[in-house]
Amino acid sequence: MEALDTLILSRIQFAANISFHILFPTITIALGWVLLFFRVRFSQTGDDKWMNAYRFWVKIFALSFAMGVVSGITMSFQFGTNWPGFMETVGNIAGPLLAYEVLTAFFLEAVFIGIMLFGFSRVPGWVHMLATGLVAFGTTMSAFWIIVLNSWMHTPQGFEMRDGVAFATDWWAIIFNPSMPYRFAHMMIASFLTVAFLVAGVSAFRWLIGDRSREVRAMLKTGITLGAVLIPVQIFVGDSHGLNTLEYQPAKVAAMEANWETQPSVPLVLFAIPDEEARENHYEVAIPNVASLILTHKLDGVVPGLNDFMAEDGTPLHPPVAPVFFSFRVMVGTGMAMLALSWVSLWFMYRRHHRHEGQTTGHWLAVEGLPKPFLWAMVPMAFSGWVATLAGWYTTEIGRQPWLVQGVMTTEMAVADVPAPLVLGTLITYLAIYAGLLVAYIGVIVYLATKAARGDGPGTTAPDPALAPAE
C-alpha cells in the first residue's frame, strides 16, 4: 500500500471529481445553444414541434446544469483542501482568472436559468429568449475562463517568478497563451459533438420505441446534421492542437505516439503495450511513416522520442506512457466511430429523402430512410461524446505530468499534507455518490424519453394556449 500515498490519492480524488464534473458542462455548454436554436426556430416558424423539442431538452438541461453546479462547487473547495500549494505558487495568475469566471459566467447562468426554466409564462417571449441566450453565453464564458487557466498551466507565459511565487507581468499574454485558442476550440466543438450525439441517440431511442412525433424527426435531423458537420472540423482542430502540443510539450506527443527514440520516418502505432521499464513497445501494430506525416506533414519528418526526457539519474521527466497512449487512442477511435455513423446516417437520410413523412416534399432529409441497425447504433453512441471528451482530457492532463504548471511547479509541490486515510475515505464516499448520481441521471433521461414517447409528457401534448408566452 506504499504507493497509495496522499499525493496519488489526492490526484485520483481530483481526477474523479473533475471527470464527473466535466460530463455535465460538456452537455450544458452546447445544449444551451441548441435550446436557443429550438427556441428561435419556434419564434420564426410558430411550429410547435420546435417548442416541444425545447420543452423536452430543457428538462435534461436543467438536470445536467444542477449536476454541473454541485460538482463544480466541489472543485472550487478542493483547490484549498487538497492542493493549497497551487494557489500559493500561482495564485496571482489563477486567482483573477477564476474570479472572472465567477463574476462573468456563474452568476449570469445561475440567475437567468431560473427565468429560462420557470419564466416562460411570466415574461414576454423576447425576455425568455434573451434569458435562454444569456444562459448559453454564460456557460460558454465559464468554459472560456477555465480553459484559459488550464491552457496557461500547459503553456505558461506572461509572468515572472519572485521568491518562488508567480507574478503576472502581461495579462494579454496570460489569457492568449499559445495553447488556449486550440484547446478552447477543441473543447467547444467537443461539447457540441457530445450534444449532437446525445440528441440523436435519445431521439433514435424514442423513434425505436414507436414515437413518430414531428419533434423526434426534427431532433434526429438536428443531431445527426450537427454531428456530421462538426466531426471533420473537430478532426482538423484536433490535428492543429496536436501540432501546437508538439511545439510546446513534445514529451506529451512522444507519449501519445509511444515513440521512444527521436528519429525520422516514425510509424503510426495503432496498437502496442508500452513498457516503461524496458523502454520499448510490445505487440506493436504500426503503419510506417504515418506518425511523421501527421505530426510534421512530411513522410520522413523527425518526431521527438521519450528517451530525450530522462534525468541524469534515470528518472523519467516525461508523463506515464501507457495511460496517455491508450486514452489518446480511445479518443481518436470514438471520433472515427462518430464520423462513420453520422456521415452514413446523413447519406441514408438524404438518399431516401422522398420518404419524408410518407410523401415527397421539399425536405432534404427523411428519418424514414434510416435503416434500423443505424438507429440502434445511435442509442449507445448517445454518450460517445462523454467517452471522447474524458479520454481527450486524460491524454492532455496526464500528458502534462510530472508538471502541474509546465516547467513552473510539479504536482507533488502543490499537494496538501492531509493524512492519506482521510483522502481515501472521502474519495470512496465521492465515488459512491457519483456512481449513484450517474445511474440516476441516465435513468431519468431514459424515463423522460419513454414518457415523452408514450405521449404523456409535454413533448407531444398540444400546448395550452393559456400558457403561451405573455406578449
Binding site: L63, G80, N92, G95, L103, R122
Partner: protein, 337 residues
C-alpha cells in the same frame, strides 16, 4: 477600521475582505432561507412540499453562487489563508459538499424521476439541506475557536452547528410566511415562532462565547470607549428580536399585509449579528494567526480583479433583483411552461 487609501497594499486587502464579507453575508441570508426551507421539508404535506420547492426553485442556484464567490474571493485574494482554513476544515468541508450535492440534484430529480423514487429524493433534499447547514455551523464554530481542534472546541462547534441549522430553518420559515398562503402560511408562522427561540439562544451563545476565546477580541468589545460605540449593536438586535416576537404572535395580518416584514427584520438581525462577528475578527482572516495583510495576493492581481468586480457586481445585483421581481408574489407549483 478604515485603511490608508493612498497605499494599494493597504486598501486592496481591506476592499477584498469587505467584498468577501459581503458575499458571505448575502450567502447566509439567501441560501440560508433555501436550506431552511429544506430543513422544514419533513413537516409539510406532499402538496405543501411542491409549493415550498416553488418558493425557492428559481433562486437557489443563484443563491448558492454567493458561496462560490465567497470561497473564490478567499482563494484569489488570500490564497495562504484559503489553504490554512480549508485544510483545517477538511472533513466538515467535505460533509458540506456532500450535503450541497444531495440538495442541488434532489431539486431536479424529485420533479423528473419516476413517482416511486419521489420520496427518496424528498428525503435527499431534506438530508442535503440539513447536512449542509450543520456542516457550515460546525465550521463557523471551529473558526470562532481559532481553528483549534480539541474536545472542547468540537463541543462548541457541534453547538454552533445546531444553532445555525435552527437559524436557517427560522429564516426559511419567515421566507415562507411571505411566499405562502393559507394552511402553509399558518404553519410557517408557527415554525417561525418556535425557531425564534433557537435564534435568540444561538446569537446569545455565540455573542457571549466569542469574546472569551481570545483576549484580543475581549479587549475590542469591553475596552473603553469602544464599548460605548458598540452599544447600539446589541441594543438594536434586542429591539429587532422583540419586534419579531410581537409581530409573529399577531400574524397573519388582514389582507396578508406586511407578509414580507418578518423576512426583512430577520435579515437585519442576521446582518447585525454577522457585523458583530466580523468586527471581532478584523483584521484577521485566520483568527489570531494571519491578518488579511499577511495573506493577501499581489496588489496588481487584486487590482485587476477589483476592476472587474466593480463593473460586474452591480450588474449581478441588478439582474438578481430582476429575477426576484419576476418571481414575486405567492409561490406556485413550478412548471416549465
Amino acid at each position: 477600521m478604515l485603511p490608508d487609501f493612498s497605499n494599494p497594499a493597504d486598501w486592496l486587502p481591506w476592499a477584498f475582505a469587505s467584498l468577501m464579507g459581503l458575499s458571505i453575508l448575502i450567502y447566509v441570508i439567501l441560501d440560508g432561507f433555501d436550506l431552511g426551507v429544506g430543513i422544514l421539508f419533513p413537516l409539510a404535506t406532499p402538496g405543501e412540499k411542491d409549493l415550498m420547492i416553488g418558493s425557492i426553485g428559481p433562486f437557489w442556484d443563484a443563491n448558492e453562487t454567493w458561496l462560490v464567490l465567497a470561497v473564490g474571493l478567499l482563494l484569489v485574494a488570500f490564497p495562504t489563508a484559503h489553504g490554512v482554513i480549508l485544510t483545517a476544515l477538511y472533513l466538515p468541508v467535505f460533509v458540506m459538499l456532500v450535503g450541497l450535492i444531495l440538495r442541488g440534484v434532489a431539486f431536479e430529480f424529485r420533479a423528473k424521476a419516476r413517482d416511486q423514487y419521489r420520496n427518496l429524493w424528498n428525503g435527499a433534499f431534506f438530508a442535503g439541506s440539513l447536512i449542509t447547514a450543520l456542516a457550515q455551523g460546525f465550521m463557523l464554530g471551529l473558526y470562532i475557536m481559532g481553528l483549534e481542534q480539541t474536545a472542547a472546541t468540537y463541543a462548541f462547534a457541534t453547538l454552533a452547528a445546531v444553532f445555525l441549522a435552527v437559524g436557517y430553518s427560522f429564516i426559511g420559515a419567515v421566507w415562507l410566511i411571505h411566499k405562502a398562503e393559507g394552511q402553509l402560511q399558518t404553519k410557517a408562522i408557527g415554525w417561525s415562532r418556535g425557531g425564534l427561540w433557537g435564534v435568540i439562544l444561538g446569537i446569545g451563545a455565540i455573542s457571549l462565547s466569542t469574546p472569551f476565546v481570545s483576549n484580543r477580541i475581549f479587549d475590542k468589545w469591553f475596552g473603553f470607549p469602544e464599548m460605548l460605540y458598540l452599544l447600539p449593536l446589541p441594543v438594536i438586535s434586542a429591539a429587532l428580536i422583540a419586534w419579531l416576537f410581537v409581530m409573529l404572535r399577531r400574524m397573519p395580518f388582514p389582507q396578508d399585509r406586511f407578509s414580507w416584514l418578518p423576512f426583512a427584520v430577520s435579515t437585519g438581525l442576521f446582518a447585525l449579528a454577522y457585523l458583530g462577528m466580523a468586527y471581532s475578527f478584523y483584521p484577521y482572516v485566520v483568527p489570531d494567526q494571519l491578518t488579511i495583510y499577511d495573506a493577501a495576493s499581489a496588489p496588481e492581481s487584486l487590482f485587476i480583479i477589483l476592476v472587474g468586480a466593480c463593473v460586474v457586481v452591480p450588474v449581478i445585483i441588478s439582474y438578481t433583483i430582476l429575477a426576484y421581481f419576476i418571481f414575486r408574489g405567492k409561490a406556485t407549483e413550478l412548471r416549465y411552461e
